[in-house]
Symmetry: C2
């Protein structure tokens, strides 16, 4: 059989080619990819920021859902027809991080869809140990949100958000919004700080308090809202110097700051505040298996209003246009690519 | 009766004056101060960096030991002859930090010996709730180390150092050295990074592994020493940009960085490493009552070789010379001022 696969070719260009998929190898599963969302990292690839890692003939994509169509030898936990999502991490199992139980931040981590071919194609072969089954009441388009929701669940777990705590999310893009929703589900009283008016509108629609730091003094507002206590937990998701400045200023004594954003440069950090207020900063990267379980439950139970986050679906043939559109559209939140034209079962 | 008190008068000048001490007020205790160490903060005062807070007629000093000579009304836990140290913190009891049990980082904290007159005098009146009794086998000169050792105990507690963990202390001044000793007592395998040869010699004498980052590649050495794992716990005690750079580079996946130093400027922090390695940074400031208990036990039991840390004792009359000497002497570690000429009991 022949299937379509979208190859990133460098310089904002994708080539959708017709290929013959390999059969799944031992321990692998072949998935008919239903939907695959465009991640911020994929956008970085598209913009050419990651060519050294990605090359110029790579199928990217990892925020996916699909249906098992074939299994390789030795795979007994999955069979054709299973509806699944992939946790796209393969650890080495041997490095100090793996040996201490932190395989998700393996020192030699392979990220499927970046370091290997990914899910912007009709058929995707992956190791069976990366799969999570999804419940019948979770639609495949909503299930394409599981990967970024698992990021958010991991972030909230790292921040140990408790019911009733004041939570600030700095940056209201797709991950920030999902972090805000996951923190709200954990019982946090969530404020989103964001400068993009359409994202502020989404946050308000989703029941968040919002601050536009371009229009109001964010710290003054936060201190007034919390009786001069400050925020118990701050998620820095903006990746900006103003976000870094706000995180330390907004945090309460003993406040926890979760570092979600990927800062490409070294910002100036008010380290004195860590001493003075005994702050903690906690890095958070990807997810552990339990975060996938939490994410699946959260989306299936409606804790994440997936339809509000998914702002568009495009055909695989239009992938280049979808990337181009997303990179220039401040209204867009999460765009899905529909990969297999007909998903079995 | 008349006693001597050393007033900081601004511009590296102290005036030793003869005064009549007030009787202790209700809830207060009057102490004959035996010894009071010169803290790094005191040195900042001497150098004029804190005049806005301190003024130009202030008795400073807080790293002290002494003997109770009188008690005010309502004080029943202490009586004349008790050998004590002071935990020089008075909290407001009303702010959000106090109400959540973090009185040591009270949002309106009064630090005795900075915000009030301190211990560089023969008699010192303090609230009875700030006292800790010391055991008979602890000499008063050694007891003057309790306050900085309590800082170190608090730092090690915040870093949650476990037996067998690899620990890096960046900066081998008095606090760094005490942190190294406290971490070693907690079972850590401690390396001290320092550029001052005489401090490196002290660290080696105290049984620490040392790195001079001016002479060797610190990160390469650390990775070789830990089988490419990195340090489990890093204490940043240098207050420098190179220290900030080393802390993120040297830390293991999920490593904990304890921010001990007071950074007067905002350094550039490799925040990406917090994401990538899921690092934690934990601020640590002063101490809680239990840290004083730990410090007293540690010094009394010989866990801190006080005689190696105390590099000089000066008379109160010579305080200005002692500050001058300390500020220009790379060999000095901890200098004590002997305050009351004759300590009762």
């Amino acid at each position: 059989m022949k299937v379509k696969a979208a190859y990133y070719k460098g310089n904002k260009h994708f080539s959708v080619e017709t290929i013959t998929p390999n059969a799944p190898e031992a321990g692998e599963v072949q998935i008919a990819v239903a939907y695959c969302g465009i991640c911020g990292t994929d956008l970085h690839v598209y913009l050419g920021h990651m060519d050294a890692r990605i090359g110029n003939h790579r199928v990217i994509g990892h925020e996916m859902s699909g249906t098992v169509v074939a299994v390789g030898s030795g795979v007994s936990d999955y069979s054709a027809g299973d509806r699944v999502v992939v946790r796209p991490l393969v650890a080495c199992g041997k490095c100090p991080a793996c040996l201490r139980g932190h395989a998700h931040v393996c020192q030699n981590l392979t990220f499927l869809g970046l370091d290997t071919d990914g899910a912007f194609q009709e058929r995707w072969n992956v190791p069976a140990h990366t799969l999570h089954k999804i419940p019948d009441n979770l639609s495949l388009d909503e299930a394409a949100l599981i990967e970024p929701v698992a990021v958010a669940c991991h972030d909230v777990k790292r921040g140990n958000v408790q019911a009733g705590e004041d939570v600030l999310v700095i940056g209201g893009g797709p991950i920030g919004m999902l972090v805000a929703l996951a923190a709200k589900n954990a019982g946090g009283k969530v404020t989103v700080s964001e400068i993009n008016p359409s994202r502020l509108a989404v946050a308000e629609k989703l029941g968040m308090k919002t601050i536009n730091p371009k229009e109001t003094d964010a710290v003054e507002t936060i201190m007034a809202d919390t009786n001069n206590k400050g925020m118990d937990v701050v998620f820095e998701v903006s990746g900006t110097q103003p976000g870094i400045d706000l995180m330390t200023a907004a945090a309460s004594v003993r406040g926890r700051i979760v570092m979600v954003a990927i800062h490409a440069t070294k910002p100036e950090v008010d380290v004195f505040q860590f001493f003075w207020k005994e702050l903690e900063m906690i890095g958070a990267r990807v997810y552990e298996p339990a975060d996938y379980d939490d994410a699946i439950a959260l989306v299936a139970d409606g804790g994440i209003p997936a339809k509000e986050i998914i702002t568009g679906v495009e055909a695989l043939a239009n992938i280049e246009h979808a990337f181009s559109d997303l990179s220039g559209n401040p209204q867009a939140m999460k765009i899905l690519i529909q990969c297999a034209e007909e998903t079995p079962a």
